[in-house]
Subunit: 437 residues, 4 copies
């Protein structure tokens, strides 16, 4: 097997004082944080697309990424080389999971039949590497947005042939996910939305989106795929308006069509902020509805209006995310997938390592801070005290359904001089700082 990163050896933990860029400053895989090790808490995954096939294009610029495997001319040779490169990367970084779309691993051919044959070849190869290394598939999915056939949508296309093609692609992608022991299967509806309402039947399109998901559930049962289904929300980009706008939109869609028992949500940081929410908000909303499934870890630029998919380096964001994850009792079948790409100007192969180190250290530090914060209970105690008026008296009656509007009025007429306490936001922010800095 060719060595694609010959100058870089296995990355190890050296601590915060090390100036060696090729070392972890905070991530120590086997360090115990509570009853679990860091790597058990974090379950980092490599995103096959950005890492292996991303080229560094932007809306005004051509490829920049230098990737040794891209020198190969034959698409299948290239695909095979990427497998080797990806496992080398994961092993050197100590990453134990990866995620993939069908089209990431094998090139589309002239016919669907051949395309599927390509897939089979690569799946076999990947399966061997997985066996050899112990690396696992966190989730699989089908790419139903890149090809021009999906320009009006996949399940929500106005063209029934496109729906059929999408169905065929989902079927195969589920099969290979099962084949590779994938723990989850994700739907991201990048083309499930509209460009303009002037030509769109939203009602019909949403029905169709539900139809495809139902078929997927049925087929999973048929083939015995027991992984968790996940939906990944994003409000816009590529389409002007995507149906899976945010966690709330996904939940109402699932409830409407009776699909909410079959799905959880895969939440991406940058998608949350594009929807006008903090990452923590989306994680929390999913958590309290028992819908938090997995995380796509990255960060956006708050001053840019598109999905920048940057490697996460903001420890505040990572700490608050891990706080929600810990309160969720972990991510269960999910993990932390770096759905991030090196900046277009970070185009050297070595940048791939620097990027993952950046992201892994950021989440490791976030985990440590979040764990201590939760364990010491400074926030939780404050919150418990803050809502304590609901533990007795009229508050208890409200919670237990013993009071109606008449009882409330009666009470309020006698208690209309209300005393509130400060919300202490600034103090709480400094407490978070104490755990991070």
């Amino acid at each position: 097997m060719k060595d694609y990163f010959p100058d870089i050896s296995t990355i190890t933990y050296e601590g915060n004082n090390s100036k060696n860029p090729y070392s972890f400053k905070y991530y120590k895989a086997d360090k115990k944080i509570g009853s679990k090790t860091m790597h058990e808490h974090l379950k980092f995954a490599l995103a096959y697309w950005h890492t292996l096939t991303g080229k560094g294009v932007d809306p005004f610029g051509a490829d920049t990424m230098i990737r040794p495997w891209d020198n190969l001319a034959d698409p299948m040779d290239k695909a095979r080389a990427r497998v080797d490169a990806s496992f080398e990367l994961m092993q050197k970084l100590g990453i134990r999971y990866f995620c993939l779309h069908d089209r990431d691993i094998a090139p589309e051919a002239a016919t669907l039949k051949e395309t599927n044959r390509n897939l089979d070849i690569l799946v076999e190869l990947i399966g061997k590497q997985m066996k050899a290394t112990g690396i696992k598939l966190l989730w699989g999915t089908a790419n139903m947005f890149l090809n021009s056939r999906y320009l009006h949508g996949a399940a929500t296309s106005c063209n029934a042939d496109v729906f059929a093609y999408a169905g065929a692609q989902v079927k195969k992608a589920m099969e290979i996910t099962k084949e590779l022991g994938g723990a989850n299967y994700v739907f991201w509806g990048g083309r499930e939305g509209y460009e303009t309402l002037l030509n769109t039947d939203m009602d019909f399109e949403l029905d169709n989106q539900a139809r495809l998901l139902r078929m997927a559930i049925d087929y999973a049962k048929e083939i015995g795929f027991t992984g968790q289904f996940l939906i990944e929300p994003k409000p816009k980009e590529p389409t002007k308006h995507q149906y899976d706008f945010d966690v709330a939109s996904v939940m109402v869609f699932l409830r409407k069509y009776g699909l909410d028992k079959d799905f959880k949500i895969n939440i991406e940081s940058n998608h949350a902020t594009l929807a006008g929410h903090t990452f923590q908000h989306e994680l929390c909303l999913a958590r309290i509805n028992n819908m938090l499934g997995s995380i796509d870890a990255n960060q956006g630029d708050p001053l840019l209006g598109w999905d920048t998919d940057q490697y996460p380096t903001d420890v505040y964001n990572a700490t608050l995310a891990m706080y929600e994850v810990l309160k969720n009792g972990g991510l269960h079948s999910g993990g932390i997938n770096f759905d991030a790409k090196p900046r277009r100007a970070s185009f050297e192969p070595s940048d791939l390592f620097l990027c993952f180190i950046a992201g892994m250290d950021t989440y490791a530090k976030g985990l440590e801070a979040a764990y201590k914060l939760l364990n010491n209970g400074e926030l939780e105690d404050f919150i418990r005290e803050r809502y304590s008026s609901y533990s007795s008296g009229i508050g208890k009656d409200i919670v237990e359904g013993k009071a109606g509007l008449k009882e409330l009025e009666e009470y309020a007429l006698q208690h209309d001089r209300i005393i509130n306490n400060s919300g202490r936001q600034e103090l709480l922010e400094t407490i978070v700082n104490r755990y991070i800095l």
Copy 2:
């Protein structure tokens, strides 16, 4: 009764060529648009708060509005004068509905008991004017955001005494809405949200929000209030994050707590855009879920990040809104409430008339354009044709549930060279222009 606008007489239709600012250019109340008159289609309502009590403050500026009734020193005298002024305004403008919060019409007093007594006095006065003029109450609501007691929320306050007070206020507001024959009762949760998740138990707060709504439903049954309950979404402002973020958030909340049969949604244009949606999107999403209840008509500034509540003058926005309303078969118990305020620098009493004329003409023109557009069917025909592949063959099988992933794959393997048709967005936009210009 004092005449507050002695220089302005009843506003009449003079057509688009008139340069008289105090005339309608497009709104002709009794003009038939299809089977209904303009005023039946539009059911314009005056928002009591902005119109009668709004003062023109902004975050950096004091009152500017010159309102003759504000010269009165005694709060109750002022409140009575506002009633007269409001009915004079509505009669001169030909507006047949109005909307109010409890605190708009009567001042808060030292105790809740006295406050309620103030309310009763004003309700009686308003009732008389309604009887005399035939003007109706579109909806009533309780102001549970202005007073400092609500700084942590109303139903979602961490303080049970505040919940109780809110309940008492809702009870009374429902009673006066019933008393005045109000067709709807609205909940806008301006304080139902959070400033920071660091001190917030979102799960508990949402439960409490549902508790208050359930109590309201129960009490409505008890007193025989049969008006429609409405929730008005807004994503943020005043709080950092409001639970009723948008139509989707409201729907998922209602479904979760089993309240979706009891509520419809009151959609405001400026709130839609603050949430990252077009007004049409929110109307359409509510419509296809049979949740479109009423409209708060205004417009925001797309380059400003706060709720500017401007009088609507953009005919594109009004046309697309009326298109959805017409497809909804009208607004039923709802109407078009101008939740808008004169610009701070439009501070003269006469500006109130110019503002309403602007808004009413804009929606009248929008109604006319939308009606023709819908009736001529240029968009509808295009859409019907666009989705026609679902009327037969594999498309029909998908819709009828006769195809699963295996059937789709089988089909797709034989139909993998897909032909799509142009979405024609630019053409469709010029068609809309033809109906507006």
Copy 3:
């Protein structure tokens, strides 16, 4: 010469009642608006890049555009075919100007020398077509953003070899602009900015940006190129922060380096809104500083945070833009370039016609409305009256420099009860509606 759009004949004016999509509803080239014809006022230009080479990619999707000339395999054959197609388009649409980057018309070759040779071949071909048709070059420019060599900037690259290459490209692009009789030469600094300040010497980069412009001015003198130099601002995208953020940023840059006499500004609608300004604001700011040079006509989506470059269909925006153009006494050497692309789903060749028709009609209608609005003087009269206090008394003293703070204090102590008049924004908006609808 091959006919690339055989099914579409010359587009003619048929008026607003025509349902023929392939006709103008408002644009009548020879109609007199004041002393000039519509086509003289508007000077529409075709943007070679979007129209001839745009493929319909987006950040998540591959090519969609069906372009007959793209079937040709050889890049130079394709380039030649595009020339024919472009002139066919312009002639059938009655467009008399076009704009180009060097790389739009001829493919980049293995060496700069060969690339320049390719350019010469195409320039000759284009020159012949121009002569044959009378169609003119509105402006030329160099594409210094697409190639990966520009990933750190062109004139502002940290790599001096890149600066040199950019200089060479500007030299050649100026030469071909001169050769083709181009009326203007544009600089758009899509890579002149930064991704992160952590690796950037902004001071040095701005100096270098000025150095390149000075070299261009010197070389223009040397070769006798007398066209107008233009800078086109854009705040971000592709880079995180571009130095030519908006009109103000461009002006301060030019003044700092003594370049303000040599440049005017090319203002794009979508770039204005991305910078947080209305299009009219940017046009007005440039106009009052005698810096308004030319227009890139398009529109963005106010809810999307990236450059959507849509064909303009919003008549409000076009009317206010033309209002500024008319107040500027026209655009002089500039024109109205449709820097717009068909939506990705408007991928058929016929959509190109429908798009230009949409844009041309929108600006024709905007011109008509703006001309009447300005000519009737309703806004201008209001404004004149509004500032009339500066024509006499203390106002006149202020304007003429006769009053200082002491005189103002003396006056104010005696005139501290100030009367203001309403700004009448809502009325003025309805007046604009009267001219548009």
Copy 4:
């Protein structure tokens, strides 16, 4: 003198391990950072308005702040009490500077003459406290936005009487700033902008804005005020568009009117982000133009579109800000003014202390991190190396003006295979993390 915060004693440094909320975790006033102490580097200032007169209103909510001095009925008594409270606060917090508007310290009376008399009384009182405590005035300014007379602007009002009144106010505010030994005088043009271009003569308004500034310069000379003049940019809010949009807008305005030698810029973090820039960008742009005068320290919420003026708690932002300040050689006559207000729900008097502690600790930590970062040179060395190609060869020729386009072309023809190096953004972000965490 009454003690307004009897339960809180002088705040001292206790270090990061202390859980005492009323202690500094990072700010140790006399700790040496390089050659200066922390307090010399930071020169923290209290903003009189938010701290002493802010009431906690928001667009939908009434006063919340509990302020002991607000119980006093007489406005002048209240004003005197605020002086005592402010000095108590500053002394207990170890804050050595403050900033004020004229109207913060003394109430507006029935006439300008009386208002000025009120001011004189308070200035005398403040002067005595300053003498007694050694606390200094960082800057003074005039509030020309709150009163309704300024609804159309101050210097840019359409009403000459308003201009005169503004002039009188500036005169007096400069006098009291001089009287109190103020080091700077600030202009923030919150009303200098427009609501709609439909009623605005932007050209004339900008001329008038310059006229007022010139009068101020002249008057400063006349009375011997030698403090630094500062302009504070803000893009919008309260007006739709403010002329002093950002640093670039201010600079081009000053240059146009020949005022750039007389002014520097006071940059606020939250204003920077509202304008679409990072705080660091604005600081850097001002620094490289020798225009960085002073800082208004706070933070906004990246997901909210208005000025939230939060106390700074994000150490990233503070570190990058202090990095620019250190590269500027400090702020000279300027300082770090907390233009921040407690959240509306942080309404207790004690929150004022917790807020300042939060802000001071954040900037102290930022100073330490920035100092080490700059001193160790990790970023500076990277940047120096990155631009090294300009130190010799063609790069040197470019910088020294020895190369023109012809020389560049000649060079490029022979050097057209360009090698770039990675920009290493992710690595640089982890380096910053190493200094912060």
